[in-house]
């Protein structure tokens, strides 16, 4: 049995590696790819490969499923655009929806869940009101959670549309306000690029840095392989399109206090996906890179999470990064009392 997610990483990096797989090897690869929400990306990556006939319909299904996800994501973005049009403020799409709206390689075959948008902090209450008017409702009626979101998070409490059953996350910055790196949201909004639809996406450097921030500072590396695959695709496309990309990226990384995070993400992407990175930006390999790789690959051929201890360590770290210690204690106390 496959002991980690290496076959998926290998197949994404170098599709030729699938040629040596036997039946069970393919079944392992598919279970891992589904568990990591990378089956659509994998299916596109294997287009044109000599794939066994037993596997071909599975990949075709994945492509059709992500085609539909793309269509639904764009529709949902347009619903938000219409609801917010009267406010005349910038609506910046984030993550998966941004990749497909801007027609980037990172959007090819990507699974997309919620709609994430970013707006200026001073327009937040007007945005909230407009969305509630247009049929979105609060998901979490719990007063503690609601207050917690409003005081400390980088987004409104999640809203869900009562007819379409789709969630929207409204961000006013990219990381929790209590987190230590504090990217500059106003600079991100100012540099955002307008699409034909009237919606915005972040500038290339900011878009990559947001993905980096998400990988390193916001989470416990759940979905990390997909996050890193986004980073690989963005780096390849942006650095090929623009000679100045690495220079601009350096400037923006400093502005957003994300230089070490960027360096780490580039090293990990290089190690796993052979991403062409500018060595100066990636910096020296650190011992902790090894722990990150261990955590990112913690998935066996049955699709199960493995390496409980490593996972737990990253989970605790994610809370530690998000909150100062006293606040963390208060938060865990409040959560515990409510059971």
């Amino acid at each position: 049995m496959m002991r980690d997610a290496r076959p998926l990483v290998d197949a994404l990096r170098d599709p030729e590696t699938v040629l040596s797989l036997d039946g069970a090897g393919w079944t392992n690869l598919i279970s891992i790819a589904r568990a990591e929400s990378l089956i659509g990306s994998l299916a596109h990556r294997l287009t044109g490969m000599a794939v066994p006939e037993q596997v071909r319909p599975i990949l075709k299904d994945a492509i059709q499923a992500t085609d539909l996800a793309r269509q639904q994501a764009l529709w949902e973005a347009d619903c938000a655009r219409r609801a917010l049009a009267p406010l005349n403020s910038k609506v910046v799409l984030m993550k998966g929806t941004a990749y497909v709206a801007a027609d980037l390689d990172a959007g090819v075959g990507r699974s997309i869940g919620d709609l994430d948008i970013m707006v200026a902090q001073d327009s937040l209450s007007a945005v909230e009101e407009a969305l509630l008017d247009a049929g979105w409702e609060w998901v979490k009626p719990d007063p503690y959670d609601d207050q917690y979101y409003r005081e400390h998070m980088h987004e409104l409490p999640p809203l869900i549309h009562r007819e379409r059953d789709r969630m929207i996350d409204v961000h006013h910055t990219t990381l929790p306000q209590t987190a230590r790196p504090t990217p500059d949201p106003q600079a991100m909004l100012d540099a955002a690029v307008k699409l034909d639809s009237g919606l915005y996406v972040m500038s290339p450097a900011d878009m990559l840095l947001h993905s980096v921030a998400h990988l390193s500072a916001d989470g416990d590396l759940t979905g990390g392989l997909r996050n890193l695959w986004d980073i690989d695709r963005l780096v390849r496309q942006f650095s090929e399109a623009d000679e100045q990309f690495w220079i601009v990226l350096g400037v923006r990384a400093r502005l957003h206090h994300l230089e070490p995070h960027l360096a780490r993400a580039l090293r990990l992407a290089f190690r796993l996906y052979d991403t062409p990175v500018y060595k100066y930006r990636a910096g020296q390999t650190k011992f902790t890179d090894y722990l990150y790789i261990r955590r990112l690959l913690a998935r066996d051929g049955w699709g199960r999470k493995t390496r409980k201890f490593t996972r737990q360590a990253f989970y605790i770290r994610s809370h530690w990064l998000r909150m100062p210690p006293l606040m963390l204690a208060r938060h865990l106390w409040a959560k515990w009392r409510k059971g």
Binding site: M1, D22, G23, A24, G25, W26, T27, I30, S31, R34, A35, P52, Q54, V55, P57, I58, D61, Q64, A65, L68, Q71, W302, G303, R304
Partner: protein
């Protein structure tokens, strides 16, 4: 993890379990089905302890796999066969895209299929099992698979899942050696699985043209009623687990089905009454 490969209709499953018991039970009940030894599978189902110590102490089976629901309740180990069946259903319901899935039972005669759909307790499963003993080919008691390109129904003849009173009723017409273990006190009451007739397994790749759709309702005076197309359409969207996931393909497959397949609501109080009503409708089909 112990593992077992099973092929049901068009779908190949890989089942992985911490315990041998559910896989041994499945292997016995699915002994006539083709087994793939090449390692390929469309879906993986996993049966694991909810917490590590729950492998031995009051063992409880958590159902997951390639596709999973966050709030699936675990089952005790003596219901692990049910857990495995639910795990396979879950993969189909959430992950299958090659057909429009209708939550319906189906049986075939002369290349034509009768589909029965309705809420739990409508008797659709029991009726299909009963007809399967009376000259019809059993195609499935859980999902009917509608091919969006051809409009044909594909068979998915998993074990027949009998609940409560239906167990004794079927015991009267099916020999004991086709029954699985009795599981008492499951979330759906008492459950016992029955192996479909051998003919249903041997012909599980044969497709049929949908010829009649019924919405059976048990416990009312026997009657047949017409239904409006829009009502049929809406009820079938609710009875389909992947209608939304298929997008336009699902819409086209379902409108074609509603436009071409005669449909009735059927009330009945006994198997004999139902059989009579079905025969009367079937004999008048073009």
């Amino acid at each position: 993890m112990h593992q077992l490969y099973l092929t049901v209709g068009p779908t190949r499953f890989r089942l992985a379990s911490t315990w041998r018991q559910p896989l041994d039970q499945l292997a016995a009940l699915y002994k006539d089905y083709p087994t793939s030894q090449d390692g390929y599978a469309d879906f993986t189902v996993r049966l694991e302890p909810e917490k590590p110590w729950r492998r031995y102490i009051r063992p409880s089976v958590h159902i997951s796999g390639d596709f999973w629901l966050p709030d699936a309740a675990p089952l005790p180990l003596d219901q692990s066969l049910l857990a495995a069946e639910m795990g396979m259903n879950l993969q189909m319901a959430l992950g299958w895209r090659r057909h429009l899935l209708l939550h319906a039972s189906s049986v075939e005669k002369d290349g034509k299929a009768l589909l029965m759909t309705g809420l739990s307790g409508s008797g659709k499963s029991t009726l299909s099992a009963m007809l399967a003993e009376k000259g019809w080919r059993f195609m499935g008691d859980e999902f009917a698979l509608l091919n969006p390109d051809t409009g044909m129904v594909h068979s998915f003849p998993r074990l027949i899942s009998l609940k409560n009173e239906a167990i004794a009723a079927m015991r009267a017409i099916v020999p004991e050696n086709r029954f699985g273990p009795l599981m008492k006190g499951t979330p759906k009451g008492d459950i016992r699985h029955v192996m479909p007739p051998l003919d249903a397994v041997n012909k599980m790749k044969d497709v049929a043209k949908p010829a009649l759709l019924l919405f059976p309702r048990f416990g009312h005076d026997p009657a047949l009623r017409d239904m409006g197309k829009s009502e049929i359409f809406v009820r079938l969207t609710q009875a389909s687990t992947n209608y939304v996931a298929l997008g336009e393909t699902g819409f086209r497959a379902l409108t074609r089905f509603v436009d071409t397949v005669p449909t009735k609501a059927m009330d009945y109080q006994s198997g004999d009454q139902a059989e009579e009503l079905i025969d009367s409708l079937w004999s008048k089909l073009p």
